[in-house]
Amino acid sequence: MASLIDGVSSTKKNYLTAIKEAIAEEMARNPHMIAMGEDIGILGGAFGVTDGLQARFGPERVIDMPISEGAIVGTACGMALNGKTVMVEMQFIDFISCGFDQIVNMTATYHYRTAGEVNIPMVIRGPAGGYGGGALYHSQMNEAWFANSPGLKIVCPSTPSDAKGLMISALRDPNPVLFYEIKELYRKREIEEELNAGDDAIVPLGKARIAREGTDVTLVTYGQNVWHCLEAADNLAKEGYSAEVIDIRTLVPLDEETIIASLQKTNRLVVVNEAPMTCGFAGEILARMTTKAFRYLDAPPARVTRLDTPVPWVKPLELHVLPSVEKITETALQTIRF
């Protein structure tokens, strides 16, 4: 986070560049790392995350795959079984549904069913999230499917330095990791940061980040909604309330301690995420906190999520179904004033 604070020297970089750097650095460091995906080589990826990678590491290590998400994940699994570390790009995270079985039944369970003989170092990453007018199939946050499928770690960064640092950790993790990249943050100027190089950039999986300290209410979130929560916290400050914003960064494993510690202070909980409400990760955090931190809660915990709908295309409809700064602010106020 250093780069956020000192702001002394050199060039700031965006979220996309951060991920790009992490992947390129890891491929250079680890000769057994392979990258696979649709259009990642010749084109350099739909969003350019892998731009230049094939020229540098060759078409055998940076593979332009047929449009077969199942085979992409499945062959990656075989390569990992045979000693490789594989980065798999989903062109949009929405298409992961087409490779679903290979993820939840083949890849996620490999270490479990072999009693530890085989582990699968694989990162499945891709652009995710709404607010960009992508409609039903280019806006999903479908992480809850995988949170309910044991054996997968799940990561979702909200800043460039976290994106880089968590990506390095994910690529070095011996387990399969799903990495949700927020495409609306890819090139967002306002959040650019200076980035550390190599090991100094590392951000470990499983540690939350306190994005803003506060005392009256804890807003727990990740991804794009971190920025909405920070804005909501500004609004709350105007009303005289101090909100703590926790960016969990890793969903599985979840850093429960940091949230509990915050609740000990604020005694109020609002969880925010973009996925549909029912069985989403916001509900999971809420459930864990009410079982584990019940005594600290002075008001009913609340969640602000997508409505239980797909993400519609046209702007007013999209904003209607997704969490907004207004909805978060309002819910936090209700929770504080309970």
Binding site: L43, G44, M65, I67, C98, G133, P312, W313, P316
Partner: protein
Amino acid sequence: MATKTNKNSNEQSRPRDLLSPQQMREMLTQLYLARYFDVRLIKEKKRGRLRGTLYSSHNQEAILVGSLFGLKGTDWISPIHRDMPAFFLKDMNAGWRNPDRIGMTIEEVCAQVWGKAGSPGRARDNWSHIGSKSKRIIHSTSMLAGTIPAAAGVVYADRLDGGDAVVLTYNGEGSTAQGIFHEAINFAAVHKLPVITIIENNQWAYGTPTHLEYSLEDFARRADGYGIPGLIADGQDVLDVYDKVMMAVEHARAGNGPSIVECKTFRAYGHGDHDDDRAAKYRPKDEVEEGRSRDPIAVMKQQLVALGHMTKEEAGQHLAENKGAGEVTDIDFPEEVVAYLNEGVQFAIKSPLPEAEEGGMWVFKEVE
């Protein structure tokens, strides 16, 4: 019939032999219409009026016109991202403005592109993701090849009900790598369902060339593995597409099951309009030139003139062919084409946005 005289006596009879000169000229007009739709949208987009991505069908229009021309209104189609003109070209021969036509009006299609409430889906999903049960157009998702099983199911149901509908499903060559493509074709083959899969083989799947997508010379040979016919059509030639698709349609309608029709063509621009600049880099220039050298409009004009169905003067009246989207103007198109599109665009612009609250509606159908 006029066409008879033009038939080479050594040739077998072809479906096109039954087309009248008027019908063939209508084919050319429909090519203009498809092309104009595309270039018009590019212009509208450049003017900032549209959101989302335009997947241009420029240079591939003969596939849409030729495949749809001989269909019955009661047949079904299942278009995907690059097939937007199919929505209004369907059953066009019943009369562009015939209210009983079983195809979409230009107003409906434009309202969809503009994201307005006048869209048949009230603009809940984007661009090509519309459809209409009453117009017999299946609504696609983004997931490539994902609509083919639905197409098979639709005609299975139709056959059970005593219907004789066929379904045309459209698919890029790259999307054939999807597992669901295989599952659906296999099922259709087992049940001899009237499912015709048009492969628009435009040599590229986004930034990936065909040799990285499949390992065949002619994709149509994939059909052999399912024990079904695999036909190859010149995707620049409306009449050839028409012939091959109609052969598949007749085969299907007679109860003999599915076919694959590979139409060889070339993607004129980037994958989508956002990709135009990059595509200019990742595709070799001479490949692009060669691929675009046989504009379907020009090919059709040559044939009409050769057949004596059109004079050279008539053919030279509108010159949309061989022009990029940036160069072409309204005078390069027949007046009725421009007028038709204008009506669609005007409707779309005037159509209101859907209400924000609609975002929360229609997740479930209410139980009566």
